[in-house]
């Protein structure tokens, strides 16, 4: 196969996924001419490319489909379900033709014959199709901008909690356009002044595209430390309102005349509303749906294709640069040469930016998977005869490409489970007083240095008693074990557990949640569930943002450096060695709370005298906090993760190593594994 053919294959599979996306959108909005056009174009490109590069089978097949959509374009045919089904299957058919190495040619031919017959049936017009009209949708999207009045009156003690109220005001102003009014009058005479008390307060008029919640979020951590008033003044950007300017001009200590401002704003809003209604009428004739706009926008933005090996080698170079940078910083620190320090600092600035940019290249939005999942849920739900709606939220959340590869299969299993076991049949749902259409939601969001992906269904939930019985039956737990409902449901993650009473085609093929959990932990993720009988189930996956560079805490035990990922660290306490040595059963009492802990010097068999004061790092383990004791803490460190290699594969308590500025190697601790490994058996049960 020559280079051009390879390129065509790449392009063609891109086109097929575009086709799937367009079809899914078209399914929501039957007969939308723009979508039909874009499907027609995709067919056309496939046909043209196929012919040019010697894939005649693809070319001739897509030709028929193209004909069909051409008739739709000419309004001689209407889009039907059958037509969509055929096109979906055609997408699969084209993919299998693209991937065929000659071994499945017969199968493909047979499939093609069937599809061709169905296409001809449509073209002949003798199909009993139900014409679905495009539903009328109101494009009620307001312009997004709104104006608010925000009053921020901090209590005197706010700065003692480490909060700088000025930063809050900065953040608030950062949300949009703002005018800030400051009130000094509360400042006492010099004698009465306490240096860390706060006496001033602010009023802000803010025009922003963010909603009220976003404004309140600015103050989320200081709610108890100040009075906050947020009031919506008007729709739109108040600063552009005619006649508003004199009202916004005010000196310090003279509050905004809210009454006048509100009145004016309301008057102007009413005027605009009238204008808007006219515009809306005009827009309705245009029948623009959000979906298509979005789709059109997405297909117009195009990037370049880069081989993933090139990205990998870019990332490797960046990793080396960061390591070298750490060495330079260390040298510059020691030399105390001002010029050298300056150069090292500006170089660090650049390499940091380079790292972030290179890093962002390796990130792929979850959207990449969503199309596939939408298709999966659609196909599976038809197969089992259930009505299921699939919704994806936060599809713009980005993940490292290797994580995307690693997460696809576990998510697929979770979705299969939801379709198969979670959602009930339409009849059962009706009996339970639910809408006959089930709903599966995939939601992704950032949480600190983690990405969380949650799959929620509104199905029957998991029955803790049933699970417990099954676990006892399989000998996984003791018959008289006392388990809470959550603990009982958690049993599904145990190896060898599968509740499905009959093995179905979809899930329950022996691959249970334990395998899913294993796959997720392979990419350093964690899995958890929340299930309510009758209400539904949520399976949550938490993932690190990246596999290659982590923010860590550099610690030392004897003469070896270790790195603990910041994402797992909760708190750090300094403790006397005496207190640790005298502790009973490795449990320590800190500030009135009992924490189990692991003394790494002992666990690692490190000889020698420990220091008098040691550090105990509380790390998150499932929903508990567990301490690990180290000699001392060096500081935060940006660690480029390197594999320890094949020879050390049984040392799974280390997720890798990282090279420090002075060229020595530090080991990256996987605290989860550390705790698993060193837990004496009876601690868990």
């Amino acid at each position: 196969m020559d280079n051009f053919q390879k390129k065509f294959l790449d392009e063609a599979s891109d086109l097929v996924s575009q086709l799937e996306q367009a079809l899914l959108t078209l399914e929501q909005d039957m007969g939308n001419p723009e979508l039909v056009d874009s499907i027609f174009r995709i067919m056309h490109s496939l046909k043209g490319g196929g012919g040019m590069f010697g894939f005649d089978n693809i070319s001739s097949y897509t030709h028929r489909l193209e004909n069909m959509y051409d008739l739709v374009r000419q309004k001689k045919l209407k889009v039907t379900r059958e037509m969509l089904d055929i096109t979906f299957e055609s997408a699969d058919h084209i993919t299998s033709m693209l991937n065929d190495d000659g071994s499945k040619t017969d199968e493909i031919k047979k499939n093609e014959e069937i599809l061709n017959k169905r296409i001809e049936a449509i073209l002949d017009g003798d199909t009993m199709s139900v014409v679905v009209e495009a539903p009328d949708k109101d494009g009620d999207a307001s312009s997004g901008m709104a104006s608010y009045y925000v009053k921020v009156k901090p209590y005197e003690h706010i700065q003692r909690n480490g909060t700088n109220p000025l930063l809050l005001i900065d953040e608030l102003v950062g949300l949009g356009k703002a005018k800030v009014n400051i009130f000094y009058s509360g400042i006492p005479d010099f004698e009465g002044l306490v240096y860390d008390d706060t006496y001033v307060w602010w009023e802000v008029i803010l025009a922003t595209e963010q909603d009220e919640d976003a404004i309140k979020d600015v103050f989320i951590f200081v709610e108890d430390d100040c009075d906050i008033v947020v009031k919506r003044l008007a729709d739109g950007d108040i600063f552009t309102f005619e006649g508003i300017e004199p009202l916004l001009q005010c000196g310090h200590d003279f509050p905004f005349d809210l009454e006048k401002i509100t009145k004016l704003a309301q008057a102007i809003n009413a005027l605009e509303q009238a204008k808007n209604n006219e515009a809306k009428k005009a827009a309705e004739e245009n029948k623009g749906d959000e979906h298509i706009k979005k789709f059109a926008k997405e297909s117009s933005i195009s990037g370049i294709r880069v081989a993933s090996e090139k990205i990998d080698s870019l990332m490797n170079l960046v990793s080396e640069l960061i390591t070298t940078q750490a060495g330079l910083n260390l040298y510059a620190d020691r030399e105390k040469n001002a010029e050298l320090t300056r150069i090292a600092e500006s170089l660090e600035n650049i390499s940091r930016q380079l790292r972030d940019t290179a890093f962002s290249i390796t990130l792929i939005p979850i959207d990449y998977l969503v199309t596939r999942f939408r298709r999966l849920v659609r196909d599976l739900s038809r197969e089992v005869g259930k009505e299921i709606e699939f919704e994806a939220k936060g599809a713009e959340v980005e993940l490292d490409k290797s994580l995307i590869e690693g997460i696809s299969e576990p998510l697929m299993h979770i979705l299969r489970n939801s379709v198969d076991h979670g959602i009930e049949s339409a009849a059962e749902r009706k009996a339970a007083g639910k809408s006959p259409t089930g709903k599966i939601t995939l939601q992704a969001y950032y949480s600190g240095s983690q990405v969380v992906i949650a799959v929620t269904d509104d199905g029957q939930g998991m029955n803790p008693d049933k699970i417990k019985r099954k676990a006892i039956e399989k000998g996984l737990i003791n018959p008289d074990a006392q388990l809470s409902d959550k603990e009982a449901v958690d049993l599904i993650f145990m190896p060898g557990f599968s509740t499905s009473e009959k093995v179905t085609n979809i899930s329950g093929r022996g691959v249970g949640m334990d395998v899913v959990k294993l796959k997720v932990s392979d990419i350093r993720g964690t899995l958890s569930q929340a299930s309510e009988p009758g209400e539904g189930t949520t399976i949550t996956i938490s993932l690190p943002l990246t596999l290659s560079i982590i923010d860590g805490m550099l610690v030392r035990i004897a003469d070896v450096d270790y790195i603990i990922p910041l994402s797992v660290i909760d708190t750090i306490f300094a403790v006397e060695h005496e207190k640790i040595a005298s502790s009973f059963q490795n449990v320590i009492n800190i500030e009135g709370v009992q924490y189990p802990f692991y003394y790494l010097r002992d666990e690692f068999n490190i000889p020698g005298e420990p220091p008098e004061r040691e550090e105990i790092i509380m790390v998150k383990y499932e929903d508990r906090k567990i301490g690990v004791v180290v000699d001392n803490i060096t500081g935060e460190y940006q660690a480029v993760l390197k594999p320890l290699g094949k020879l050390y594969r049984s040392q799974d308590i280390f997720s890798g190593a990282s090279i420090l500025g002075d060229g020595t190697v530090a080991l990256v601790l996987d605290t989860h594994q550390v705790i698993n490994k060193f837990t004496r058996y009876n601690d868990i049960v």
Binding site: V560, F604, G645, A657
Partner: protein, 169 residues
């Protein structure tokens, strides 16, 4: 025993001379600080930084049943290219001193010493008599690193760990 006529590099472990085919030697390094990996078997000394990659270091004296290495002025690390389960991996071995590179004549390779030899003879491909009448043992380094070998070693450490765990309880 087939050997490609080629160069070998000889080194010292304790009192004995050993040699490895130069095609498997990537580099000779001065001794640097080795980061010990806790819970690993004794002969796995730890890891070092080799131009930005993490290189595992093996004390093959322990593998050969000799006392562990003592770090001296001449102690060096030989960086090798070894094959483990069909995969090429870089690893370093600690040796007491490196001697010389010499040409070998395949016909003159003697079979490995049989029963009663001091060292584990399964790692030895053959013996070669040098010009100064000294015998050099030609190592099959891939065998030293073979999985069976490592699994065996790992198993021994596991039992010691289990014993330790028992004593704790």
């Amino acid at each position: 025993m087939e050997h490609e006529t080629g160069s070998y590099i000889s080194f010292v472990l304790g009192e004995e001379y050993f040699a490895i085919n130069v095609t498997q030697v990537l580099n000779i390094l001065q001794l640097v600080q080795i980061t010990k990996v806790p819970t690993a078997p004794d002969y796995m000394k730890g890891v070092i930084n080799l131009r930005g990659t993490v290189l595992p270091i093996i004390d093959i004296r322990i593998k050969f049943g000799m006392p562990p290495i003592e770090y001296k002025r001449d102690t060096v690390i030989l960086v090798l290219n070894v094959e483990i389960d069909g995969e090429t991996v870089n690893a370093g071995i600690l040796v007491d001193a490196v001697k010389e590179v010499f040409e070998i004549n395949t016909d003159e390779i003697l079979p490995p010493p049989g029963i009663g030899s001091k060292y584990k003879s399964k790692f030895i491909d053959g013996v070669y008599k040098m010009n100064d009448d000294r015998f050099v043992m030609l190592l099959d380094i891939d065998k030293v690193f073979s999985t069976d070998e490592l699994v065996m070693m790992a198993a021994t450490t596991d039992t010691t760990e289990a014993q330790q765990a028992e004593t704790v309880e």
